[in-house]
């Protein structure tokens, strides 16, 4: 369980995205965080992960929460890959050898393990940061839109990893796409602009509510400009552009 107590977050020099949010989230279920653009989905994931700290209020985590999947800022690019992975494993209470073997097997890495991170091509680094997320044992995995990098050839791999991990652990996935939420999650939290979020025990209720909200917003003339960066045609949450 994750308890948010009166949490607010304001962007530096910006607007308030999360306002006095008090809610208890399940940490052992597959929770979709649904909401229109700019309603605080990414911010919520960041707050839960601890990447950003709330301006007010507190978050109590009664579970071992992951960093947002694919988090790669903590890598030291001058250090060898093996050292980076071992450090992450130690910090997150896993066995370094197991984690390194798992990732090496998954991505078919051999000689790269002892080279500095910066020698790796960018797609490999991306795959690596996601593989690290799945390699570490967490109680709850946090996802911001993306469950794996977007090479169509490996999409099944990331889906398998997601399913394998969430069979025993929880997940919180922020998304704007109903289809994704439906296929990856079983309960939902609908974030709304200027209103309190609603938790739905069944993902289908959450999707109905989310689509009603969207329709209402569109009817009120606030229709969103279509953004295509997070989808690759058929609704799979699987694209990171190179260089991101």
């Amino acid at each position: 369980m994750i308890r948010l107590d009166n949490v607010s977050y304001t962007y530096p020099r910006g607007k308030r995205v999360i306002n006095n949010l008090s809610i208890e989230l399940p940490s052992h279920r597959r929770l979709a965080v649904l909401g229109p653009a700019e309603c605080g989905k990414t911010t919520l994931i960041g707050l839960l992960a601890g990447v950003i700290d709330p301006v007010e209020g507190r978050i109590e985590r009664f579970a071992h929460l992951s960093f947002p999947a694919g988090y790669s800022r903590a890598f030291r690019f001058g250090n060898p890959l093996r050292q980076n992975l071992a450090f992450a494993a130690r910090v997150y209470d896993a066995d370094p050898d197991e984690v390194i073997d798992f990732i090496a097997g998954l991505l078919a890495l051999t000689g790269e393990l002892d080279r500095p991170m910066r020698d790796l091509p960018i797609p490999t680094r991306l795959a690596l940061s996601f593989a690290l997320t799945y390699a570490l044992p967490f109680d709850t995995y946090l996802f911001d839109n993306i469950i794996g990098p977007g090479d169509p050839a490996t999409r099944d791999l990331w889906r398998q990893l997601y399913d394998a991990r969430t069979a025993t652990a929880g997940a919180i996935l922020a998304t704007r796409q109903a289809r994704v939420a439906e296929s990856y999650c079983d309960c939902g939290l609908v974030l709304r602009r200027d209103a309190a979020p609603i938790f739905c025990d069944d993902i289908r209720d959450a999707i109905v509510l989310f689509e009603e909200e969207n329709a209402a917003a569109a009817g009120a003339g606030q229709s969103e400009t279509p953004r295509t960066d997070n989808r690759n045609g058929d609704g799979e949450p699987a694209v990171i552009r190179a260089g991101e």
Binding site: Y71, R73, F87, F138
Partner: protein, 276 residues
């Protein structure tokens, strides 16, 4: 897929143990990584390079005093007297300079969310203490075995450790203040090293504080480090004159700066986030 997934311990032992366990994991992992690499250099080059500075200071002052044919200000060995002054001073100077990285805004973004700034402060302080202690032990050991200075092995090692702990605490407190002030006013990064190294001479590396003229002695006593140096020297010279000593003053200064630094950090955190 037939992969076996790395499995971790199951966190069913309750929240408190969970937190302690996380803390221990982060501190030990950070310690070994930072010890291995510092600014992309290996441990020997990165940390021990900072040991050259006190040795150079000891060497230059020692040569100057030898050339001027001074007798040692206290005791039999000039080198021992200088070493007992310069090493604690440099433990303070280096600690006060090098806690900038843990609280640096850019560096904070390049971490896992589980690593908090104060984990980095703890680990960096410990590494400074270890590397300084290592070099100091080499120096005093060399004086004893090669120089034949019998008093280079402290009569009372416990006092030496107490003194270094107090100096380290004072260094950490100053380092936290400096790190925050340097983010508020970047030119502080240039000013503080100059002040710290210049003030070195007022902390008594080559004179006995208690032998100063009584009317100026009180002003020298305002510098907390002079008490740290005297404290450290007590470990080597059991009868070191202690008219000026006030160990409590050093500890009070450290505690005061620590509280001030932590308040400053907490008070400006949001402002600095917005500023960067």
């Amino acid at each position: 897929m037939s992969q076996t997934y790395p499995s971790g311990p199951i966190y069913s032992a309750g929240r408190r143990r969970f937190a302690l366990r996380n803390q221990a994991n982060v501190l030990s992992a950070l310690f070994f990584r930072e010890a291995e690499m510092r600014h992309g250099q290996s441990f020997a080059l990165g940390y021990l390079a900072s040991a050259i500075e006190p040795l150079v200071i000891i060497g230059t002052i020692g040569l100057l005093f030898s050339a001027l044919a001074h007798t040692p200000p206290y005791g039999d060995s000039l080198w021992l007297f200088l070493g007992t002054g310069v090493f604690p001073i440099y433990l303070f100077i280096h600690t006060s300079l090098r806690l900038r990285q843990p609280l640096n805004a850019g560096a904070q973004r390049l971490r896992f969310p589980i690593e908090r700034p104060f984990d980095h402060i703890a680990v960096h302080s410990l590494l400074h203490l270890l590397s300084s202690a290592f070099v100091a032990i080499l120096f005093f050991g060399a004086l004893y075995y090669i120089g034949g200075v019998n008093s280079a092995i402290p009569e009372n090692p416990l006092i030496a450790i107490e003194a270094l702990a107090a100096v380290l605490l004072f260094g950490i407190a100053t380092g936290i203040c400096n790190a925050v002030i340097a983010r508020l006013f970047p030119f502080w990064d240039v000013i503080w090293p100059a002040i710290a190294r210049g003030a070195l001479h007022f902390s008594g590396p080559y004179f006995v504080a208690a032998y100063l003229p009584p009317d100026s002695r009180w002003y020298f006593g305002l510098n907390p480090m002079i008490h740290g140096v005297d404290w450290f020297r007590h470990a080597f010279y059991p009868f070191y004159p202690n008219q000026l000593d006030n160990h409590l003053y050093l500890l009070e200064a450290a505690a005061l700066l620590l509280v001030f630094g932590l308040l400053l950090e907490a008070g400006t955190r949001r402002y600095l986030e917005e500023k960067d």
